[in-house]
């Protein structure tokens, strides 16, 4: 086992969270490292706190003790108007998100109940890998490793590449979760250090991709092809977050299958039934969840679409 890295050297990046014991993001039991920043705006996003690059304010109203008991954030050095209470019995602080954009880590640290917090902090490669390496024996026993997720982990290409290369140096298997909406030059830095690439095929039609994810998918599709062809020894697993009314239909699934099946290194296609685990996070960011009216896909629908995939991969019968 390697000794802990020099934590003061090498590239740094903005890390949202390091989550241990994950079992759905690559082979075996893994540690997911969530990097902050995304270049898409998917309306179903389960990790809204990962969208923006900069660390940002989060607020947990349930931890606030209110104006009478505390009220610290209603006075300087907190920005004028950033926090307020409304008239009435409820004296919990509310956030004016438009005026709280300058609230930083130093101010958040003043909150005695941790109702105010920050999403994201800058870390070195060594700091992240030392944390990841704590479960090295679990990776060995389960065939797991480290998965870089996000946000879009390839948006911090130097940091991501250093993390992945460093993991390999420590004998840790690597995977990334990516949507590939990045310049190809970023992929060239990251992909050589990845064992498994989990990548999203969100929508097939460019106009619909733009509507629901913020941009057209033309560059994304080009990156997919280039990645499949440039890295033939890397395992690719295609995935689709299934959202009824958006992409949970046979036509999309068949379009993705037609796209990926010519490439033998695309070893599987997984469906991710849309969930709303992100809802609480939206509230703590003061962000309105755009897909609140949508339902999760039924078991029958998922089974039907899965059967199509199984047939295409020769797993039926």
């Amino acid at each position: 086992m390697n000794s802990p890295s020099d934590k003061s050297s090498g590239p740094t990046g903005i890390v949202l969270n390091i989550q241990r014991y994950c079992s759905h993001d690559g082979p075996g039991i893994r540690t997911n490292v969530f990097l902050k920043g995304c270049s898409l705006r998917c309306k179903w996003c389960a990790n809204p706190e990962s969208i923006h690059f900069k660390p940002e304010l989060a607020y947990a109203p349930n931890l606030c003790t209110g104006k009478q008991a505390c009220g610290l954030c209603l006075k300087p050095p907190f920005p004028e108007g950033a926090f307020y209470v409304v008239e009435g019995a409820d004296d919990k602080v509310r956030v004016n998100w438009d005026l709280a954009t300058d609230v930083d880590e130093a101010l958040v640290a003043l909150c005695p109940t941790d109702a105010l917090d920050m999403y994201g902090k800058r870390m070195t490669v060594g700091e992240v890998l030392d944390e990841v390496e704590k479960d090295a024996s679990i990776y060995r026993n389960s065939g797991g490793g480290m998965t870089l997720s996000g946000g879009e982990c390839q948006l911090q290409p130097d940091f991501a590449a250093a993390l992945l290369a460093g993991a390999h140096e420590r004998g840790i298997n690597t995977a990334i979760e990516t949507a590939f909406n990045v310049p190809w030059s970023f992929c060239e830095k990251v992909l050589p250090h990845v064992d498994t690439v989990l990548h999203d095929h969100k929508l097939s039609i460019p106009e619909r991709h733009k509507k629901w994810a913020g941009v057209s998918n033309e560059r994304i599709l080009a990156n997919f092809k280039k990645a499949y062809e440039t890295f033939p020894d890397t395992d690719f697993i295609a995935r689709t977050p299934l959202i009824p009314g958006v992409n949970a239909d046979e036509e999309h699934i068949r379009a993705v299958l037609a796209f990926i099946r010519p490439y033998k290194n695309v070893i599987d296609y997984e469906l991710l039934p849309y969930h709303r685990f992100g809802l609480g996070k939206y509230e703590s960011l003061g962000v309105v969840y755009e897909l609140d009216d949508y339902k999760t896909p039924s078991d029958e629908l998922v089974a039907h679409l899965q059967a199509i995939i199984d047939e295409a991969f020769g797993r039926s019968g």
Partner: protein, 394 residues
């Protein structure tokens, strides 16, 4: 940054723009402002689609600004759709952009906005905005923009004014629809449970419920006990009166839910604290929870009474249509009032209707306040006198 309160005005050219979200009768505000500006010999221009017309003029073949001469203003249909158009979100501090690498990001274009306004020789801006828009124009004012706000709110939740522009039209349409729901319930022998707008403030539910003769009105300010509502419905329903009408504000709170406990915020914290991260295209970042309040109340009430309940949702219907006479007058008054304020060198203020006067409130005092229904409200007392169940203790 100063909130000037007197002195000779140096204003010669004024722009007017509308914030996100449509309300009926925007043209009335534009007319009021343009005609009043014309009387002073000022030039008035309208910014298309929020600030889009200034930030992205290349998107408009006829230009991002529309000249609002008194002649044009007079020809506007005050009941028609707004000449200014609208944008889904109006926040120059977080403008969603797609860069040359096809990557989405939100960019602060506030400096560019101020520069472009200056290049267009615009001395002041009149901004017709809701609660969140007030905070955004306050930020612009702090950066040096000469600006006057006009409150526009379907919910009437802007605290510093008695009546926001748009509220009366929404109220009027809601009453009309409640009348229909009541008749439909009568013919179907059901209890209509109608959800109306009001995530934080129950003004529409309460005032419309009173006018339509509702049996119960449930508003965010009074956490309700559905058992109490059920008992009241049982009292009112007889073989000869076998229908009912329950009006539910979308922000209804239940006494037995965690949100209604004393240690939890009563008002919807989400709507109360919209983030600049709440980005999106037209209308996409409203809370898409329409129907949940009606569905919840209807299904829970049905378990407590013998009659069948029928959930109905008004939702976005109230944002369209023609303005009422009150909103036409109010719109004209707000528009003209904003120009009067600028002429009196008011800056960084919101025009407020404080009957019988039009006054000016500093934006710093107008933000971060929610105009909710107080327990001693006249409308609460009227509802009680009429035997309308409010579902909880006051």
């Amino acid at each position: 940054m100063n909130t000037e309160t007197g002195g000779a005005s140096s204003v010669r050219r004024v722009a007017i723009m509308a914030g996100a979200g449509f309300v009926p009768g925007m043209n009335a505000v534009v007319m009021g402002a343009a005609l009043a500006a014309g009387e002073l010999g000022w030039e008035m221009v309208g910014i298309r689609d929020g600030f889009e017309g200034v930030l992205h003029p290349e998107r408009y073949p006829d230009g991002g600004l529309v000249t609002l001469s008194p002649q044009l203003a007079e020809s506007l249909d005050p009941g028609g759709r707004g000449i200014l158009g609208q944008s889904g979100r109006v926040d120059p501090f977080h403008v969603r952009t797609i860069d040359e690498d096809d990557m989405v990001q939100e960019v602060d274009m506030s400096d560019e906005l101020l520069t472009r306004l200056k290049a267009e020789r615009i001395d002041a801006v009149i901004s017709v905005v809701g609660s969140r828009g007030l905070s955004i124009i306050y930020k612009l004012h702090r950066k040096g923009l000469n600006i006057v706000g006009i409150p526009r709110s379907i919910e009437n939740d802007v605290a510093a004014t008695a009546v926001s522009f748009g509220f009366n039209s929404a109220l009027s349409f809601t009453i009309e629809m409640l009348d229909r729901a009541r008749e439909a319930a009568q013919s179907a022998r059901k209890i209509a449970v109608v959800e109306v707008l009001g995530a934080q403030a129950g003004w529409i539910a309460l005032q419309a419920g009173i006018a339509a003769g509702a049996d119960a009105v449930l508003i965010p300010e009074i956490p309700c006990d559905l058992q109490t509502v059920a008992e009241r419905l049982k009292e009112k329903m007889t073989p000869s009166r076998d229908y009912g009408l329950v009006v539910v504000a979308e922000g209804v709170q239940f006494l037995d839910s965690p949100q209604a406990r004393a240690d939890k915020p009563v008002a919807a914290s989400l709507k109360a604290s919209l983030s600049p991260l709440a980005t999106g295209e037209a209308g996409e970042h409203v809370i898409l929870r329409s129907g949940q309040a009606a569905q919840t109340v209807a299904s829970r009430l049905q378990l407590l009474i013998a009659e069948e309940t029928q959930p109905l949702v008004l939702g976005l219907w109230v944002r369209g249509g023609a303005p009422t006479a009150v909103d036409r007058q109010l719109g004209l008054a707000y528009g003209a009032g904003a120009v009067r304020g600028l002429n009196a060198s008011k800056n960084g203020v919101m025009v407020a209707f404080v009957p019988p006067d039009i006054q000016f409130v500093p934006l710093a005092e107008a933000i971060n306040k929610v105009r909710t229904v107080p327990a001693d409200s006249l409308f609460v007392k009227i509802a009680q006198s009429l035997g309308i169940c409010l579902g909880g203790k006051l």
